[in-house]
Amino acid sequence: MTLISEQWLNSQGAIQQSNVVSLSARKAERQSSSFSLGKKKIKLDELNRLRCVSQEEDIAIKEQSFIRAADFINKLPIQIEYPSLDFEDDGSISLEWQKSLNNNKTIITIVFDYDIVYSILKNNKPYAYGAKSYLEGDIISLINLIEENFGIINNALLKA
């Protein structure tokens, strides 16, 4: 009887503990999600500002490229770092992810032309380049590729 009570008490304790952990995790997830949405908004604002910067350089941003870049940023899952934004000389929008570890660079650059032109450098060596059409399947495969290299572990969730 004592053993059963202890087991029951232990299991209740574990359930309570797991509820606390799950509540903290959900709170952290909410916080992280709102932080990430904030960052997404900052990136979209930055994208809008590129129009003004490009005008200073007498370059007109291509409307289709702009819309696709904004759509792509919106589609990025929260566990992916946000890229740096820029525009090419022909007015296409480019996104770039970059990290450096022990002088070994990994870079992913994508340019929203009529199609999506991309290139990947891994550990200072050209890894792949090419073009993908702006279709759901291709976008998802590109996002997966970015997540593979630039996915971030959610620190808030880990702490919780």
């Binding site: 000389d89 970059q98 870079i107 200072n124 050209p126 380049y129």
Partner: protein
């Protein structure tokens, strides 16, 4: 075309903070612009940082509305590794143009991005105020 050796140093000046990302890393787009197929560099082998800055002040800054922030050093060997050609274009002294960046088809545009990334990975960044 040019009389440079493979280990000779070529520098690309940075005048705009737009070439830096949020983490202060240089974007690969630095190795673009100037003309559609390439970009412009200065031969800086054997020059100390001060001489390189003076070179920028004397010959480049007058055409720029912004101050010199940094420069990226790479080598002739790296430029030639991605099959780009170096063409001496003086005045100003020590100035060279890099040509041959492909840009016709989408695959060629991808190759151009790849070349830019490679050159960036093989470059050293030197800040003027550090």
């Amino acid at each position: 075309m040019h009389c440079l050796k493979p280990d000779d140093e070529l520098s690309r000046f940075i005048f705009s903070d737009r070439y830096f990302d949020d983490q202060g890393q240089v974007k690969s787009r630095l190795f673009a612009q100037k003309h559609p197929e390439g970009f412009s560099v200065f031969h800086t082998t054997g020059l100390c940082k001060l001489r390189i800055i003076k070179l920028a002040i004397k010959y480049v800054i007058k055409d720029q509305s912004k101050p010199l922030l940094a420069y990226c050093k790479t080598s002739v060997k790296n430029i030639e590794e991605v099959n780009l050609s170096i063409v001496k274009d003086t005045p100003p002294p020590r100035h060279h143009n890099i040509f041959g960046m492909p840009l016709k088809s989408n695959i060629e545009k991808g190759k151009r991005l790849s070349d830019r990334q490679f050159l960036l990975s093989q470059s050293d960044l030197i800040f003027v105020n550090k």
